[in-house]
Symmetry: C2
């Protein structure tokens, strides 16, 4: 083996550890202990263990984090080395979850799942709906092709108005309030930053039509939870499906668990069974690039946080 | 008005009656009582009222029925006039329901809907699955474009092996048992005839892989219900979503209501709010054709029953 020395640690999640060790080997690097490593592949969902591992070898040139949402890791990021995350890796899986949440709400399968007797048939067509997607990243890029056959009118809202394939229009975040009243389905698929924290609160929920559906697969902190509870209770929106919550996990006894127009899924956008299948080849490619001295994928800007 | 005289009856369902009266007017015919009519637009889900209305005027040349599944009407069909149904009219709506059922099962949104606490994340990718669709009619033709972006391997099984756009292969019903072991998702979207009644029973369910998903949006009678209950209980298939049941409505206390791997939706493929939007323009077109002496759409073969 003449690849560069890379550590995969901790070994707290055996499946993840094994998958990432394969990535290192198949990417052409040499698997070593942290003390001898030039790079670290982090193999745990938790950030809390990171400082003591980094202390073993502060010289590592590159740290690969295994998730796209890395808020918990932010305080440890520095400018002394490259940090990469798994931005975009899980996007195909999360895009499927978005469409699953939308169709669940449209066809009320969450409501019927709770029934133990034949009910009145309800359900609306997704075809031709006006969909607004916040965020123009990987999830959105994988979602738009799934929506294409439904002939929806899709507006993407992002920091820039750079067009995105498959969207009818792309506009900047400053025009959010203008678009909400013409939105049948609002999808949150953006990064969590100080600017986007709480981006959907009471005023935004009030601006939506009363039949509007809200789907959040990004981060719980995008939505002001108490305002959403109020909007669902007073019928100012139609229904919500949340794959992420604030707080997360959503505590037992929280009113959203029993809200008839709400579906909570426990962050299934990236389940272990789907995620490792997507993560392993991605990390392998970054290992190959590291060994070859090429640019790494999914570099994190330690200042912006994504 | 110089259009031909057409009756819309009964008026038991005000919304449906109003929509179909608009179809007659906008199609260029003249709305009349049954006694004076040359054609009848039937405006009730029930067949039981039909004989006494027909007795008022046995000379009508054409009867338009408002549904695609017309088993209850079969005993009244005759060769003395044209009978048309609503074959294909609701197909875009039902195709959406199929994808909703598939994604609900893939992402376990039916299971999470029943939860009142944060659960372990589960879920599988639809992308790349092997999908077998029984039936090559309108639902299938509208379903395949919705599945296209998922890159699935799709086999359509129908009476003839005439190819269908969007299917990887089309084969005849005689080869069903051969395909089932290679099926991740089995969709029933065929007509109910004596040949297809009970087409999915114990042997077929046993032939499916134990992770397979079953979706039925056709007729409850296609599936041997007790065999399905047994297959779900012993884990010989993964999960089922039924928009139609046998018996239908599914009685309270039936084991399928509480089966964790089963979702029952109450025949929502064609809900009133979706259905009339699709039915009104379709009947208008048939009225126009009747007045113009053109071939009618969705003629029923009184012998075959579809």
């Amino acid at each position: 083996m003449n690849g560069r020395p890379i550590a995969v640690t901790p070994a707290t999640r055996p499946d993840m550890h094994a998958a990432l060790c394969r990535s290192v080997a198949e990417g052409g690097a040499t698997l070593v202990d942290m003390a001898d490593a030039e790079a670290l592949i982090w193999a745990d969902p938790r950030a809390s263990l990171l400082p003591e591992v980094m202390a073993l070898n502060p010289e590592v040139e590159w740290v690969q984090l295994p998730f796209a949402g890395i808020e918990d890791f932010m305080e440890y990021l520095d400018g002394d080395r490259w940090w990469t995350n798994a931005k975009g890796v899980y996007a195909p899986a999360v895009a499927e979850t978005v469409l699953a949440q939308i169709l669940t709400l449209c066809k009320n399968t969450h409501g019927y799942a709770r029934a133990t007797a034949w009910q009145h048939p309800v359900g609306r067509l997704l075809r031709g709906s006006r969909i607004t997607v916040l965020g123009g990243g990987g999830i959105t890029r994988h979602l738009l092709p799934l929506l294409a056959p439904f002939g929806c009118d899709v507006t993407v809202i992002r920091r820039t108005d750079q067009p995105i394939d498959g969207a009818n229009r792309t506009i900047t975040t400053s025009r959010l309030m203008e678009v909400l009243p013409r939105t049948d389905v609002l999808v949150l698929a953006l990064a969590l930053t100080p600017e986007t924290s709480g981006i959907i609160g009471a005023p935004e929920l009030a601006a939506l039509p009363d039949h509007a559906l809200l789907v959040n697969v990004a981060r719980g902190g995008h939505v002001v939870t108490d305002d959403l509870v109020a909007a669902l209770r007073n019928g100012s929106i139609g229904a919500a499906a949340l794959d992420v919550t604030d707080p997360e996990p959503l505590p037992q006894g929280h009113p959203l668990w029993v809200e008839p127009n709400c579906l909570i899924t426990p962050h299934i956008g990236n389940t272990p069974e789907m995620g490792l299948k997507l993560l392993e080849p991605f990390v392998m490619e970054n290992v190959r690039r590291f060994c070859a001295g090429e640019d790494l994928l999914a570099l994190v800007d330690a200042t912006l946080g994504y």
